[in-house]
Symmetry: D2
Subunit: 141 residues, 4 copies
Amino acid sequence: MDSIIKFIEENDQIKSLFNIEIIQAEMGNVKTKMVVRENMLNAAKICHGGALFSFADYTFALISNIYGNNALAISANINFANPAYLGDILIATAEELNRTKSTGLYEIKIERETDKKLIAFFTGEVFVKKSQGVKSQGVKY
Amino acid sequence: MDSIIKFIEENDQIKSLFNIEIIQAEMGNVKTKMVVRENMLNAAKICHGGALFSFADYTFALISNIYGNNALAISANINFANPAYLGDILIATAEELNRTKSTGLYEIKIERETDKKLIAFFTGEVFVKKSQGVKSQGVKY
Amino acid sequence: MDSIIKFIEENDQIKSLFNIEIIQAEMGNVKTKMVVRENMLNAAKICHGGALFSFADYTFALISNIYGNNALAISANINFANPAYLGDILIATAEELNRTKSTGLYEIKIERETDKKLIAFFTGEVFVKKSQGVKSQGVKY
Amino acid sequence: MDSIIKFIEENDQIKSLFNIEIIQAEMGNVKTKMVVRENMLNAAKICHGGALFSFADYTFALISNIYGNNALAISANINFANPAYLGDILIATAEELNRTKSTGLYEIKIERETDKKLIAFFTGEVFVKKSQGVKSQGVKY
């Protein structure tokens, strides 16, 4: 399990693009953090939906791949609840809603750390591939 | 109309983060382009859902704000149809499905340029704010 | 508040079409019940997505209109987690995720009563109309 | 192919519940019709989201099962664009956006026949089960 998280942590480029930090990554319990920076603002000076989605999506990748299977995102839905501004510290909390042999369903809540205000609500569905991921050289995905 | 597009083009940070290029931006007809780069890959070496979403979302911002109103994204749904790889040239084509005084509905199709394969399908809804945007110094949004 | 619930209960035809029962309907706390009947089955003999959606949507109407405003559904997303069969007793539990002056976001979980298995997960967004509903003769909506 | 459509037509209960009529059902080209009746109205006297969803979902079942595989709906998203009223004749037009060995993506547009106004826009994703459906007695699904 840890090696998968480590592998994603080291190889997923979105993490460094948005400076996402993993707070917690255990079975069914994943929490991440992102600070809204200048390069995430849209023309209206609020955090871009794409940055919020990327943040949620990265967290979704962590929780859905934690079993060592190869979970492939097939769909996602996001609702933008309240705007986030430059400097806001955002916390994403992932929850597993359902998991079968072939699919998995997850929700990710993005909240502002200071006032716990909901910024965005994301649900994502994965298709679980039969092939148990790349297993060479101790690297699993 | 042009000044809005120009304003978004110059101020939306996501555009430069993902090197998005505007091919066409007219009323009800917006087309953009993005090349899959190293910094958009996830751990499985395919284009990150967050990059695809950001690309669609930026295109969605262009088409939904073209009337000069202040359109605020409230929800979006994305289906990941086929993987995109490093170097793939992606084209996003936006279409307005519905527009009322208070809401707007748009679809964005992301296709690979070479084989027209569908990479992702995005639908987004905006809430149209009454205030007709910032009007100072010829800059509208 | 009660009169709105009563008004919806008596006038929404979907309730009687699917024999939906209101278990609880208080501010931010709505629970409903539906038993899977013959007329809800699809050709594969499992409960039709349309019946599950209708059940969730009705529950969504209850929770989103509870303030006495006129909440208009603008979008909804549903994930079908596990199949429900003839005779299954389903419980829908609604939660308010966000509410602003102009929009509201809700989730509805549909679970089978016996084993608490998730059947479907629904998120819905409403647009809150300024006109505070019909207020004549004690009938509000 | 025809036998599948016939099988769904005869066995899906939602069709008769909402008096849905199949106008056309060919590979990649499915069109259905539903008239808004008294029993589909919500408390605001507009066609219930559940009825619109059921109508779209039934059309989605037709187009996604047309290959003779067993397509299982896993998620759907619907945007309610404009209200439909008692007596409105609604036409649903389905389009296949993507199909792989294991998943399929479809859009269904619901328009009012008289003025071609968009009533709802639906996207649905199926998981394609390996087992090629029930094949006994010429009945396939």
